[in-house]
């Protein structure tokens, strides 16, 4: 039987590539964010903030195209699930971009030569590197429709969560100096933003399972952790 709707299929493929390309933009933004944290680089942080417009622009552009596709092509079955999932992916991309901005906006608050704790900075950098890996894994899982790889994101995210808890413990024990405590609190906010970014990557993994199986379920239910 002859294949039809090849133009529509091409458009869908291109939109998927654009949506997943948003994860590359986020990955680059996170890389710069971590560099800014490591070197207290205020200028680089400002660049990340300004560059978030590109991520927002990608979100708006692909979102609008998907809405148009819904209106004009009436997609169903796998196509419908894919478009629904892409809308979620885009939302996560946009949120991850915002989390990078949140971290970068904290860097000027900590000053040029903050009373930093190298152990805590390293923890945050490890969290960031692990989150960057999660973003790449979420992208691969989506592109390959690999549910197993998507489910593995939960285990990888546990590493980020553990590091975040360690940051918290370090902050509690950072001592009595008011400046150091203020810096530690600021870094905790940064750690929290990175931890949320990793959660967004897991959310993308859940969308992979939805596209493949047609059933949506949270890999981990935060409100009911022990079913």
């Amino acid at each position: 039987m002859p294949e039809t709707r090849s133009q529509y299929q091409d458009e869908l493929d291109q939109l998927e590539a654009s949506a997943l390309g948003g994860l590359d933009l986020v990955s680059a933004a996170l890389g710069r964010t971590l560099e800014a944290v490591e070197h207290q680089d205020v200028e680089l942080a400002q660049l990340v903030v300004a560059d978030d417009d590109r991520i927002d622009g990608r979100y708006l552009e692909v979102h609008q195209a998907l809405i148009t596709l819904l209106a004009t092509q009436s997609p169903v079955a796998t196509d419908l699930r894919l478009i629904s999932a892409m809308l979620h992916v885009l939302k996560n991309v946009e949120r991850m971009g915002d989390q990078c901005v949140n971290v970068c906006k904290l860097i000027p608050l900590s000053g040029n030569e903050p009373p930093s704790d190298q152990t805590m900075v390293e923890l945050i950098l490890r969290m960031g590197a692990q989150t960057k890996a999660l973003i790449g894994q979420a992208k691969r899982a989506f592109a390959d429709r690999d549910v197993e790889l998507a489910q593995n994101l939960v285990r990888e995210d546990d590493v980020v969560d553990d590091l975040n808890r360690e940051c918290f413990r370090l902050a509690l024990e950072i001592g009595d100096d008011a400046d150091r405590r203020e810096w530690a609190m600021t870094m905790l906010l940064a750690a929290r933003a990175i931890e949320r970014t990793a959660d967004n990557a897991v959310d993308i993994g859940e969308q992979v399972a939805f596209v493949v199986t047609g059933l949506f379920r949270e890999f981990e239910d935060a409100s009911h952790p022990n079913p």
Binding site: T4, A77, L80, R81
Partner: protein
């Protein structure tokens, strides 16, 4: 209404009701079952062992590419298929347990119990609006009062009464296309069928008239089993509780409409509903 010309056995009470006028609002009747249904045009076998049920109170859509046997299937239900020279059907079709291909069956009564609406509205060209609706009743020998009451009921049921009540004596062909199609639905409803077959009923209508018919299907299915053949998959998704996908004279998938259009089980269904062939 009896479906059997000469009753020689104890009939099913649901179908062979003693009353000459079955109640319009009735339930638990209108269940159609196909078992191993084959249909032929000459030597060509266009339906291949189709087994399927249409349940009372539900609308079922039949979708599939041109030539897959959708229209033939519905025309086998009310024995219209055999009207085509060289065409025949084999297997079993039952209405509420009564075999419609029993040699003793009265075909006219079958078509009264299983009404049909076609692709193009086909009002009787020389008849007025009301005469179109009540033609079947007059043929059945209903009295004048009954004809008037049921003609009005049918027009109300088809959502047409308010639009035509002041021109009941005008020619039926003077109505718009959408109104003509609802007139044909009213004509089918007037004889109080248990099942209404609709073969592409909206393909000749504009979007507004189409939506009016779709709303009507939603209302009618409460009292008449609806089977609709459509090429418009969005229409199937909007009106049907159950959707049947056919290919090459065979059933591929039957299931709840929502499931079939969001997560079909069969790869061929997936390919068809997403427009990758057909």
């Amino acid at each position: 209404m009896s479906l059997i010309t000469k009753r020689t056995q104890q009939p099913s009470p649901a179908v062979f009701a003693a009353s000459p006028r079955p109640q319009l609002l009735r339930r638990e009747v209108g269940n159609v079952a196909l078992e191993g249904l084959d249909a032929y045009y000459g030597a060509s076998r266009v339906l291949q062992g189709v087994s399927l049920g249409f349940v009372s109170g539900r609308a079922t859509a039949i979708i599939g590419p041109s030539g897959c046997g959708k229209s033939t299937l519905v025309r086998c239900i009310n024995r219209m298929h055999e009207e085509v020279p060289g065409a025949r059907a084999a297997g079993k079709v039952t209405l509420d347990g009564v075999d419609l291909y029993d040699p003793r069956i009265d075909i006219v009564a079958v078509r009264r119990s299983i009404g049909m609406v076609f692709q193009k509205p086909n009002p009787f060209p020389t008849m007025s609006v009301i005469d179109n609706v009540t033609a079947g009743l007059r043929l059945a020998g209903a009295d004048r009062g009954e004809i008037e009451d049921r003609g009005r009921e049918a027009l109300v049921g088809a959502g047409l009464w308010d639009e035509v009540k002041d021109r009941l004596s005008s020619p039926g062909t003077g109505l718009s296309g959408g109104q003509q199609q609802r007139l044909c639905i009213a004509r089918a409803l007037a004889v109080e069928p248990e099942v209404l077959l609709m073969d592409e009923p909206c393909s000749a209508l504009d979007p507004v008239a189409t939506l009016r018919i779709e709303e009507l299907i939603g209302e009618l299915k409460e009292r008449v089993t609806i089977v609709i053949v459509t090429h418009n998959m969005q229409q199937a998704a909007r009106v049907a509780d159950t959707t049947v996908f056919m290919l090459d004279g065979q059933l591929v998938e039957v299931g709840p409409t929502e499931k079939l259009f969001t997560n079909p089980d069969d790869e061929r269904t997936e390919q068809y509903v997403t427009g990758k062939f057909g």
